[in-house]
Symmetry: C2
Subunit: 191 residues, 2 copies
């Protein structure tokens, strides 16, 4: 089982998610459907994550709290997946809060069912490996984003990598994700 | 193939590295041995990474450059592994610089040999999955570290998770990793 080079994280991830969904569907592994109103929480910091969610409609913000401030760290849109990943992998309470930005429809697969599926044959393991490698590369990119001191540079990096973000997510949350004020973000976008 | 819960990242990672090393050894997959003098580079930003390195002796610092400043992002010590991970997984030029802090001895396995090994049977795929999941959780922890605004809190988080760091790595590099001045780090350590 060789590992394909990841030339475009988002596309690879989108393809992998589609494939995953088909597999879950065909084996009837959906545990539940979840509807969220705007601002409703999918999970709060301190809880144990038992599900992986596929977003059908709506958008979700993952954030951590730091000194009473909410720091956006990830977003999910239709056709992407989301979970409190730290807890999903470690079994320990999550540090993340997942909250609906817009009204959402999600489908959930349980952690055990997902892990069993991913380990059931070589093709699936390969898919999971690809997913994890893409995730590692994305997280490296995110680390570099955060460590980039010039706000304009942070903006450019994210715009290039995730242009869809700017269509889907309100400015104030993007500003938090980019670690700048909404005013700075507006000024950069105009310039 | 179920996936074991990762209860202690460092221990799991150390166990996985030991197992990996035995497998590489028994199949004679070492591509080369590398010796580095203090301050010598293993790889510089802009290069393509072809190897995964096992540290036998010495310590290595991974850093990125931002506006002329070097930002430490990872360290490697004896019995840990290191590579320019972004490039190793993506095939694209790395953003990282890997430099010896102390004189080093490393053993390298080539990317293709490593990938073939990891895909050669179910046990190895499982090992690789564990490694990747532990890595994802570590990266999440690192992201939360960086986003934690109080220097004392950042210090505490890293001290709790990686006490060995403070034995192995000079203060100025730890300070850079913790995003504070060496003076602030000294003050926090004393208090």
């Amino acid at each position: 089982m060789g590992i394909r080079a990841i030339t475009n994280n988002r596309n690879v991830t989108m393809d992998v998610i589609k494939e995953l969904k088909i597999k879950i569907q065909s084996q009837n592994l959906w545990a539940k459907e979840v509807s969220l109103k705007r601002n409703e929480y999918l999970i709060r910091a301190g809880s144990i994550e038992r599900y992986l969610y596929f977003v059908e409609e709506g958008t979700i913000r993952a954030f951590i709290e730091d000194e009473g401030e909410e720091q956006a760290i990830r977003f999910a849109y239709p056709n992407s997946i989301i979970t409190a990943l730290d807890s999903f992998f470690s079994g320990k309470p999550t540090r993340f809060n997942l909250q609906a930005i817009k009204q959402c429809k999600l489908r959930a697969v349980e952690k055990e069912a997902f892990n069993n599926l991913m380990g059931s044959n070589e093709e699936n393991s390969k898919l999971f490996l690809q997913m994890l490698q893409a995730l590692v590369v994305q997280q490296m990119d995110r680390e570099i984003d955060i460590l980039t001191s010039l706000p304009t540079e942070r903006y450019k990096r994210v715009l290039e990598r995730s242009p869809h973000l700017f269509q889907e997510i309100p400015n104030k949350h993007i500003a938090s994700y980019l670690r700048m004020t909404p005013e700075t973000l507006s000024r950069i976008k105009k310039s």
